[in-house]
Subunit: 259 residues, 2 copies
């Protein structure tokens, strides 16, 4: 069922781990391939940055423009023209004028455009369907509850507000129920990842909010579950992801030391 996808993954992995043709391709043009409008500390922006890291694209291949969310730059006229809901991230392609928002849609677009082998090809109907199913589960069942915890226990701290502990408790219960089911799913024979036997963008989509759960002191929801914990360790030990997360950690430590 997933054999075509698997072949493509192997082929593309060799390509990317080799001399990075994607990177060379983009360097040959003076105009950046695209501009990513994001923000520091935005889990939705980090979803796109992780995808770019997996594809071997660096800051010299595209331009990263950081908006200051605390100053409300996401609601500026310029950003509203790119993103009608006044959020980050969004991208624009200078060459064609094409713009796009919604982090998962951006990740999928970039994966297809730069042949990052983390989305099954449409010709593999069943693998594509299982990818869509897994994405729907992540977006509808996991992200709202995990995002609520991240907002209450992380974002509110920076806004000088108190967390609503009743809201946190409800959301934590949802995350736990979700992970109980995910544990069973990941234990199925031939599984290991959220959309099947291979690491895909859907696994990557989880990373920023799971990291936020760890940062808020709730990492045990992951580490207490055997299959979920194994899945998580596979995700964050991927070389490109590991490298980006370590760089982010160092940048964060340097910023904190300056305070």
């Amino acid at each position: 069922m997933e054999s075509e996808f698997k072949n493509r993954v192997c082929k593309m992995s060799r390509l990317i781990n080799g001399s990075s043709p994607v990177s060379r391709l983009l360097h040959s043009s003076r105009m950046p391939g695209f501009i990513l409008y994001g923000a520091r500390g935005s889990t939705n922006t980090d979803r796109v940055r992780l995808t770019l890291a997996e594809g071997g694209l660096s800051n010299t291949d595209y331009e990263l423009v950081l908006l200051n969310l605390q100053q409300g730059e996401q609601k500026s006229k310029e950003n509203l023209a790119r993103h009608r809901w006044g959020k980050v991230p969004s991208i624009s392609v200078p060459e064609s004028g094409f713009t796009l928002f919604e982090s998962r849609a951006i990740c999928k677009f970039l994966a297809r455009k730069y042949s990052i082998p983390l989305v099954p090809p449409e010709s593999d109907l069943e693998a594509t369907a299982l990818f869509d199913q897994a994405q729907s589960i992540e977006t509808s069942y996991f992200a709202p509850a995990a995002g609520t915890i991240a907002f209450e226990k992380f974002a509110k701290k920076f806004m000088g507000l108190e967390a609503n502990e009743a809201v946190v408790s409800d959301a934590l219960q949802s995350v736990n129920s979700f992970l109980d089911i995910a544990e069973g799913l990941l234990q199925e024979p031939g599984r290991g990842y959220m959309a099947g036997s291979q690491f895909t963008l859907v696994d990557l989509f989880y990373i920023p909010l799971v990291l936020r759960l760890f940062a808020c002191g709730y990492g045990d929801v992951i580490t207490n579950r055997e299959a979920v914990n194994a899945w998580w360790n596979h995700c964050i030990s991927r070389p490109a992801i590991k490298k980006l997360l370590e760089a982010d950690k160092e940048a964060m430590a340097a910023a904190m030391a300056k305070r």
Copy 2:
């Protein structure tokens, strides 16, 4: 940009409005192409039924198995084997044993499998990205709020419970804010539909919950906005959709008369 998609739409429309080759193909086999497990009154099931109607597939092409949600049949061992979260809808393909859940993933799988021309081809990168963006908007910004109203004002009535009016009021405010932005989006030149100039599955995804808003007495959120109202009228006047909605209305009236 969407030209390839447009060509495919025209070609497939002729195919489907002609002698229904999809239907003939499925009739030639004794085994149904797939089984749809759903429930009466489930907006998620209706999303799949609308997709099948658009594709010209009828109840003789597939088997529809209705679960009784009030009796908890969605939590039966059999259904949990198909859908780990114990919900409807799901499908199973007897020939291959393939199963799938999450209504939007099912709709996309069936559209690709039966060449229902409501999903842009992956080869059209930008049309696919705008489809993904539009689906993300529908799923993350519209459906949770509209679904909350449907639960409070519709589902709870059948459960003998009172609606929580404060929750309804918050959700209604979200739906109104959402539709204010959608109004601007639909007014863009060359627009008219949620993912561009063509009717796609994303527009169809809205239909069951918008109908539920009308049923709860909140239809003015649609009719009060010019572009949103025009979009809605285009959606529900599509022949296949109109036919299905009229049949559902008649079936509902007959069921009410029997009570």
